[in-house]
Structure formats: C-alpha cells, structure tokens
C-alpha cells in the first residue's frame, strides 16, 4: 500500500496510535455526510477505532513504519468501511466473544474491541490476503435507517 490521501474517501496513516484521532475525525465526517445521527456516527467511529487499534497493537506490534488505510464506500443505504492492511491475516469473526458477567467476575482486562465492533455494526466481513491480493480487508457495514 502507498499513502495516497488524495483519494477523498480514503485515509492512509502510519501504524501509530497517535493517528487514531485523525482516523476517527475522517470516519465521523463521512458518516455524518452519509446521513447518520450522532448516536450511529459515534458507534461507527468506535468500531473503526477498535479495528485500527487492534491492528496497531497486535497485528503490526506498533511498527510505525507500516501503513494502514481506511476506505469509505456505500451501496444504497449501506455505509461501508474497509480497513486495509498488510499484516499477518487475523479474522475477527473467529474470535470467541467474552461473556461480560464472567469477564467482570475474573476482572479481566482487554479483549473487548471485537465485541464492541460486533455490537455496534450490522455486518462484519473479513477477506485475508492471498496470492492474488496481498492486502487484508476488514469490512464494517452499517445500514442507514
């Protein structure tokens, strides 16, 4: 991936948690433009933040020489966020979600990002890189009611 911020619906940043606020601002603006109210905008922003934070922390191990891209697309009333990376593939749909009562009993920490993504978005898809396409793509969808 190359950093190409000239594309209006795409933002590419270094893999650095310092960039999260810029990604959030970008996604919020796009979600507002699409017609979502504050509540849904906040949910979409949160889901994208969780996905990017996981990439930065776990997939890329905070290697800020690497890049990730967030691309906004739409189909009819579907708001579609694509998060692109070159790290080792990791499918969030294969992760077992924590039961919160048990989670609070053992006073665990972490592991909530994917649960949040699933709770606030309507659909999550994952396409790992392959021999034809070296980019992993996480797709988060939210329907505009």
């Amino acid at each position: 991936m190359k950093p190409d911020n000239s594309i209006e619906n795409t933002i590419c940043t270094a893999v650095d948690s310092d960039e999260l606020s810029r990604i959030r601002d970008f996604v919020k603006l796009k979600a507002e433009d699409f017609g979502f109210g504050d509540g849904d905008c906040n949910k979409i922003v949160l889901a994208v933040d969780e996905a990017c934070s996981n990439l930065i922390e776990h997939a890329y191990k905070k290697d800020s020489t690497k890049l990730l891209c967030v691309e906004i697309d739409s189909f009819d009333k579907e708001f579609i966020v694509k998060i692109l990376d070159n790290a080792i593939p990791f499918d969030p749909s294969n992760v077992e979600l924590p039961d919160m009562e048990k989670y609070f009993k053992v006073l665990k920490r972490g592991g909530l990002g994917i649960k949040i993504m699933r709770l606030v978005m309507d659909e999550i898809l994952y396409y790992p890189s392959n021999e034809h396409n070296p980019v992993n793509t996480l797709i988060l969808k939210k329907h505009l009611n």
């Binding site: 933040d49 919160m100 665990k108």
Partner: protein, 121 residues
C-alpha cells in the same frame, strides 16, 4: 502529542483522589491515565473519583485502564467511582455492562459521598 489529546488534573480531598479527564481516552492516551492511577496507588491511596465531564471519547483501551486497577483498589479497601459522563461516553460503558462493576454517578458529589462513607462495591 499525548498531552494535547488527554489532559489529566488531580486533586486530593482528605483521603479521596479526584481525577479530572479532558479530551480523548483511547489506545494512545490510555497509558497516561494508567500512570496517574499507578502514582495514586503507589502513594497508598485507594479511594479514587474520576470525573468525566470534559471527556469526549473513550474506547475499549480506556475501559481497560479501569479494569486493570479495580481489583487492587478494592482489595485494599478502596474503590474507583466514576462521575459526570457525557451521554456518548456513558453509552460505551453501558454497551458492555460496566455499570455492573462500577458505580457511575451523574454528580461527582454523590460519588465523593459514597467514597467518604465507604460505600464500596
């Protein structure tokens, strides 16, 4: 710069530490709050009030800071009370059921009163 994204002010009233958050609490800024909690606990204090009135955003990384310290604090006869959240911040706590584990008060005086009267979970 972390400092521009999360400002933290603390003040101590008797044995209660009040922590005021301003800005964003995400994966980038969470370590700063972690340092603040660690300093309070290192000083032997375990009654902590966190005022969220100027906090505009929290992600799971921010929630994780509270999970990291709650056991230690409660095992030492204290608690972490949360207060004055904006709706958008409360909705993240509520989404995952955090009110099961933490008292979240609209007014910080209520939270301080609970700490002063040793009303712990």
């Amino acid at each position: 710069m972390i400092d521009e994204k999360l400002k933290i002010q603390t003040k101590k009233n008797d044995d209660i530490h009040c922590v005021y958050l301003n800005g964003y609490l995400d994966a980038h800024t969470a370590p700063k709050l972690e340092d603040t909690f660690q300093q309070i606990i290192n000083g032997g204090d375990y009654k902590i009030l966190v005022n969220f009135s100027e906090l505009d955003y929290i992600s799971s990384a921010g929630l994780g800071v509270f999970m990291a310290f709650i056991e230690d604090v409660r095992n030492n006869g204290g608690d972490i009370k949360l207060a004055s959240m904006k709706d958008k911040v409360f909705s993240v706590f509520d989404l995952l059921g955090f009110p099961m584990l933490f008292d979240i008060d609209a007014d910080e005086l209520d939270a301080i009163s609970k700490l002063a009267n040793n009303q712990f979970r």
